[in-house]
Symmetry: C2
Subunit: 347 residues, 2 copies
């Protein structure tokens, strides 16, 4: 059987209507709604064909049709023309904020309240190299290590001492650490390097051990992907997601930040020029989301670092709106990062 022009028109009408109403779509509705001027009987015949081809199903005999995953997929890939007008919200969407963390939290929050879906945003993942490292003596027992990695991500580590150091000692350590570590990527810092540093530090080798533990801790932490979520409760607004168990599962998945960030990082955006990916139902990378759709976008910083934005909603989410919102948002983000770079001038 062939998917001719008319069948496509009908499929599109069905999906569009279902996205709007959430109710199974009947033949008579299409007969009136579309400008095909066909009787409901003809539509019925076509619908039977579309069902056979796997694009739509009936929830039960004598009900209208709803799209299958394949139906949504076809709609998203081929039928959905995006809203081309730029959103009015643009510009006012985000206040300018300096701290990355605050900015991303806000992105998640604004996006959730704009779309009424659950949202998540990961911090950009750099190929992290150490840019600056400094130890300071806070008091006689505590040494503070501050590590700045590429992209101005700052990590602190308080190191407890059981020997007395004076400021001169600390200065020496600082020189030693910076000589070795500045510009090193986090993977470069291995046992060998540590051994070498210990050798050069002479009498302070023991303390260095202590310090190193602190620093590697901080580095590990810097490597973890931060993720911010918002709008979890929006999930409850879509009762078609079914029973409480499913909802619970979803919310649990949404609470598990680690799994979420892995999931987002795992999405591959290489082949898609806009950086936007849509996962429908079973296509989602996490079992608990198989009754939902996931839309992800990638934003990019001037340094090349990338972060992800994700939206989880029901399969009948407003894909058009979500995609266009995400596009605008990534553009705006790119803009903010570019501007903030101009202000700070070059490195």
């Amino acid at each position: 059987m062939e998917l001719d022009e008319r069948k496509i028109t009908i499929l599109k009408a069905i999906v569009a209507n279902y996205l709007e109403t959430g109710e199974p779509v009947g033949s008579r509705t299409i007969s009136k709604y579309s400008d095909l001027n066909l009787s409901s009987a003809t539509i019925r015949n076509e619908m039977a064909d579309l069902e056979e081809m796997g694009y739509i199903v009936q929830p039960h005999t004598s009900a209208g049709r709803i799209p299958t995953d394949a139906g949504y997929r076809f709609y998203v890939d081929r039928l959905m023309e995006e809203k081309e007008e730029v959103e009015v919200t643009n510009g006012a969407l985000l206040e300018r904020v300096d701290r990355m963390e605050v900015l991303l939290k806000q992105v998640a929050r604004v996006l959730a309240s704009n779309t009424n879906y659950a949202t998540m945003v990961t911090a950009p993942n750099y190929a992290k190299t150490v840019k600056f490292i400094q130890l300071s003596l806070v008091d006689s027992a505590n040494l503070l290590a501050v590590i700045v990695v590429d992209g101005n991500i700052i990590k602190n580590q308080m190191i407890h001492l059981n020997v007395l150091l004076d400021n001169e000692d600390v200065l020496k350590f600082n020189i030693l650490l910076n000589t070795f570590l500045q510009g090193a990527s986090l993977e470069d810092i291995n046992l060998e390097m540590i051994q070498e540093m210990k050798k050069q530090s002479g009498e302070y080798a023991d303390i260095l051990d202590h310090i190193f533990t602190g620093i590697t801790d901080a580095i590990h932490e810097a490597q973890e992907v931060d993720i911010y979520t918002s709008g979890a409760t929006n999930i409850l607004k879509y009762p078609e997601l079914g029973d409480i168990e499913k909802t619970t599962g979803l919310l649990e998945a949404f609470e598990d930040k680690e799994e979420l960030s892995h999931m987002l990082e795992g999405t591959d955006d290489s082949e898609n020029d806009s950086g936007i990916q849509i996962f429908i139902g079973e296509e989602t990378p996490v079992q608990n989301m198989k009754d939902c759709s996931l839309v992800t976008a990638t934003y990019q910083m001037p340094e090349g670092a990338k972060g992800k934005i994700g939206i989880i909603g029901p399969k009948r989410m407003d894909y058009k709106k979500v995609v266009s919102t995400l596009k605008n948002l990534t553009i705006e983000l790119d803009d903010i990062f570019k501007k903030s770079r101009e202000v700070t001038s070059d490195e």
Copy 2:
């Protein structure tokens, strides 16, 4: 009417039974369950009295009784004998962790999975004074401000420069800042102080402005109470919380970290020696929780700083278990802090 011994026994039996089953308790159940050896008719008479006194109600005629808020309150205050045996989980409950943040997250998580309620933990709130402040030149355009406040809470702020500074300038600033700010409580830092510093800084007054904005930002942030939550989805396990709307409201309240931490900080623990407080139904400080109970505990650090732990569950939560778990937990926390203090020696 008087609340005699027998009425108390019956009330206790009713509450205990309802906590266990979640079903309204009938007279026949009590007649068999308790060792009073009274017929159900007698129990019925007593129950009518208890209802009149406001301790129990019938959800509808011809149903058994359930406790009112007053009934729960009486049970909690007078009838509940705590489990005195120490929990087996004690000791293994928490791995030792160095970073406060990680530790508290774990507390929330462990507590949620142990109790099956929603949990939250605030970071200890210090009377914060500046302990150490340092500016460092990360590169020509970026100045990093590191501020350590009492209790070794560290805040960073990256300050973008549009003038060139050399290391000597930075050193001057550092001396200036530390002279003025070290030991100052966060409230002390006011306009007057800033004016005075500007005067002394001479030609750099403009830059200082810039720097100050950064520092006050960081200080503000340090004053915010951090809060960690876990087990939000446990709320969905108790359908007696009623319709989806209530549940949504609850979950939303639970997502709003700011409101939550205000709420917890607002609970007054002065008159209770164990530091544990129980809020039942309407007693809870937040409207959305009026169908739940909230149990809070206070833990204490050797420096005197206090933090709160909160548990939200249905009114028919297992108060005994929750209270004893919280007691053990705060003891264990106190222990961890004491130990970590011993190791780091004194300040």
